[in-house]
């Protein structure tokens, strides 16, 4: 631009870190949360005039203030974690499955159908087997279709899985109307309210314990599967480089289809946990956006199932706390979503500073 031959050195430049000790990376993460909390506090004062410390206090109280809230927190964390576990193998393979929402819904639909039509015809143990089988099958089918097209014709899986969500939502809407009680209301209402057929039981009086235990088992399974099994190894090789995978004799098509079937099947189980274990009904909102939130859980935890417990917990904690803020302070729910957004932004942003460092220009050099 100018003929000036003085080299302009920028104020700072970004350098990739070669490696960073774990303790340092955790300090960066901790600091980012603190900065986020300070910014949230400022936003709270400027926009609402409320005391930010009271707002944080309410947030903590809303998430873990009573025993009931702790159980609710655990239940919501378990469900979100389970969806995250489902999408993880696909993501590790760099297959961008954003169709978990739809896979959960069809799983829920299959469960609801079993409860409605077989509830009074099969003994309980058989009913549960049929419910698990059909919901996994339904979810697996919803995962298989985009995987099949991707493997054979290299279709764009992001768009494909996204569209499958809309199909699932419309199918569920149709059946919500078809099975509605009372007629025409578009609501199914509690299924088998009188007989409780097909309801996952409360364990020791704890309504959500069954869900939590099932998800815990899936977490362990997924950890072992990804880390120690041959399948898990194949998934990471396909994710790193498809050509390498082909070169060492991995059948890439097979891995893609197989992984997505498993991904979908686990989502199907989530549908079952929601319909049979929690809501005892089916609505088009049964998945409740978890299919998308789960992607964040999985990424933040770097696809490690054990870390995912904490990232899922963090997101649910923020959600639950944020809900309490709007109740206690009479603020619009959108406000608490702004706070959640700020915190997540900083958490994601901190990963940048873990991978890169800033080098400021030295004053002496600028004579």
């Amino acid at each position: 631009m100018s003929s000036n031959n003085k080299v302009h050195e920028p104020l700072f430049h970004v350098v990739k870190r070669s490696n960073i000790p774990t303790w340092k990376s955790w300090i960066i993460r901790g600091l980012s949360i603190l900065v986020a909390l300070i910014i949230c506090g400022l936003v709270t004062v400027i926009m609402t005039g409320e005391n930010p410390f009271e707002v944080y206090g309410t947030m903590i109280k809303g998430a873990i203030g009573t025993e009931r809230r702790i159980w609710t927190l655990a239940q919501n964390t378990a469900i979100l974690l389970c969806v995250a576990l489902a999408v993880t193998p696909a993501f590790k393979m760099k297959f961008w499955n954003i169709g978990a929402e739809g896979q959960v819904l069809v799983g829920g639909l299959a469960t609801a159908a079993c409860m409605i039509f077989l509830g009074d015809k099969l003994p309980t143990w058989l009913l549960f087997i049929v419910m698990f089988a059909t919901s996994m099958l339904a979810g697996a089918l919803w995962g298989f279709i985009p995987a099949f097209f991707k493997a054979n014709w290299n279709t764009n899986e992001t768009l494909f899985t996204l569209m499958m969500n809309y199909i699932a939502i419309q199918i569920v809407s149709y059946f919500c109307y078809e099975w509605s009680v009372p007629k025409g209301s578009g609501h199914i209402g509690t299924i088998n309210g009188a007989t409780e057929a097909g309801w996952l039981p409360a364990i020791g009086g704890k309504a959500y314990l069954c869900n939590i235990l099932i998800v815990a088992a899936i977490t362990v399974f997924m950890y072992v599967y990804l880390k120690y099994s041959k399948h898990g190894y194949e998934i990471s090789v396909v994710g790193e480089s498809e050509n390498t995978a082909k070169y060492i004799g991995i059948n890439v098509k097979k891995v893609i289809v197989r992984t997505m079937i498993m991904s979908g099947a686990i989502c199907g189980i989530v549908g079952l946990l929601m319909v049979s274990g929690t809501d005892r009904t089916l609505t088009r909102d049964t998945a409740g956006g978890r299919g998308f939130t789960a992607i964040m859980v999985s990424w933040l935890a770097k696809f490690n199932p054990i870390y995912m417990i904490f990232t899922a917990l963090l997101l649910v904690f923020l959600q639950r706390g944020a809900g309490e803020i709007s109740t206690t302070f009479g603020l619009n729910e959108s406000f608490s979503e702004i706070l959640t957004g700020i915190i997540i932004f900083f958490i994601i942003g901190s990963e940048f500073f873990i991978n890169y460092s800033l080098k400021f220009r030295e004053k002496e050099a600028n004579k």
Binding site: L34, T278, T327
Partner: protein, 407 residues
């Protein structure tokens, strides 16, 4: 520099924990000051004030609690699943002894909570199951909104008459359009009473109904209204919660009879009138019942007399001359009981396939088989909202054409 930041962080942490400590006893003992039994109401709303449906409940809740000096907690954006049960339980943990939920799909989760918390009163708008559940602490409420719709229909009929007289179209071409959500009794009862109101002043009127399959879908409602207008409908009304239909009418210059509240600000040239349910009288009623230790009605139906069924002010531009007087006349007759919206004996009024009605079994008790269980025609009229508060009129009467009925 680093040290200063670090110190600041530590200070923030300390304050944060201190704040948590003091917060807990801030709202501990506020409930002791009322002379009657202390009441704290917990409200559960499906959406927030961005939905016309929920806004109607929210403003009434604030109005009633302020008037009676009652504490209340509000939970918005509660979906129609187990979250509703959890919200109710949490409100009770926070000291609420009346729980109110505003959406139809909340019902089963309210019942679940009512069975568990027997010393708390549960009130639910638009539900159908209170009279068959047999729980002492679970109650349904609705209003005879069909009377409001009928009065709004009169305003529509007057407008059609005015346009016929002005030579814009013939009496035979007087066709209205209606955007409905689902083929559910509440919607059917609503559009039928609206049609009958119009027919009472404009006998040649016919109506087409287009369903959207959703209670809130702005795009679908707009499209439905546009379709009805291109079909030749001269006036539009709707039973759906967004501004879709009224705004389509404003664009096309077609008069609109609205619902849930005035849309005059958005549609100044085409807004005629709107009917709405005012929930404040019910909220006051349920609070007073608990204060005085009286039982709340299992099914409570608000009426014109209780102030629950209201018409908004007429629009400034669109309504025909003499509308206000005509409405007032019919309102008096309805309140006096000399006029019945669903009068089955009147000539050229209600017919099904050309025949007048003498008997009709309605599905009042909710069950999965839609069993028709209760005779609804009594003393020469269909007795709406008397067997339970939620509407159950679901007949297809002559003069109304359903364009799609898959929803």
């Amino acid at each position: 520099m680093k040290k200063i930041i670090a110190l600041f962080m530590v200070a923030v942490m300390v304050f944060a924990f201190a704040a948590c400590g003091t917060k807990t006893d801030a709202n501990g003992d506020k409930t002791a000051d009322t002379s009657a039994k202390a009441v704290k109401v917990g409200f559960i709303f499906l959406h927030d004030e961005n939905s016309t449906y929920d806004k109607n409940f929210l403003t009434a809740a604030e109005e009633a609690c302020e008037k009676l000096g009652i504490e209340c907690l509000k939970k918005t954006n509660i979906p129609e699943d187990n979250t509703c049960y959890e919200a109710a339980a949490e409100l009770i943990d926070s000291g609420c002894n009346i729980i109110f939920a505003d959406s139809f799909g909340h019902e089963d989760f309210m019942i679940k909570a009512a069975k568990e918390f027997t010393d708390v009163q549960f009130c639910h708008a638009t539900g159908t199951k209170a009279h068959t559940e047999g729980l002492a602490n679970y109650h349904n409420a609705f209003a005879s909104i069909y009377e409001g719709r009928y009065l709004a229909g009169i305003a529509a009929g007057m407008k059609l008459n005015e346009m016929i007289e002005a030579g814009k179209f013939t009496a035979e071409e007087a066709k209205m359009g209606y955007v409905g959500a689902f083929t559910y009794a509440e919607v059917i009862s609503g559009y039928t009473s609206f049609y009958l109101g119009a027919k009472s002043v404009c006998p040649s009127v016919t109506m087409e109904v287009q369903f959207t399959g959703s209670w809130y879908d702005e795009t679908a409602e707009k499209e439905a209204a546009t379709k009805l207008i291109s079909n030749g409908c001269k006036l539009i009304s709707q039973h759906a919660d967004s501004f879709g239909a009224p705004s389509a009418c404003e664009t096309a210059g077609i008069p609109n009879v609205s619902y849930n509240g005035s849309t005059e600000a958005q549609c100044p040239n085409t807004f005629i009138v709107s009917s709405r349910i005012n929930w404040a009288p019910y909220f006051e009623y349920m609070i007073k019942c608990v204060q005085e230790g009286k039982a709340i009605d299992t099914d409570w139906t608000g009426t014109l007399a209780t102030g629950s069924v209201e018409l908004t002010d007429l629009g400034k531009v669109a309504p025909a001359a003499g509308t206000a007087e005509k409405i007032e006349e019919a309102k008096k007759a309805l309140e006096a009981g000399t006029l019945h919206v669903f009068d089955v004996n009147k000539d050229n009024y209600i017919t099904v396939k050309g025949e007048k009605l003498t008997t009709y079994m309605a599905d009042v008790n909710t069950d999965a088989n839609y069993e028709k269980d209760t005779e609804a025609i009594e003393n020469g009229f269909f007795n709406e909202s008397a067997k339970r508060s939620a509407p159950y009129f679901d007949l297809q009467i002559d003069g109304i054409t359903l364009l799609n009925s898959e929803f």
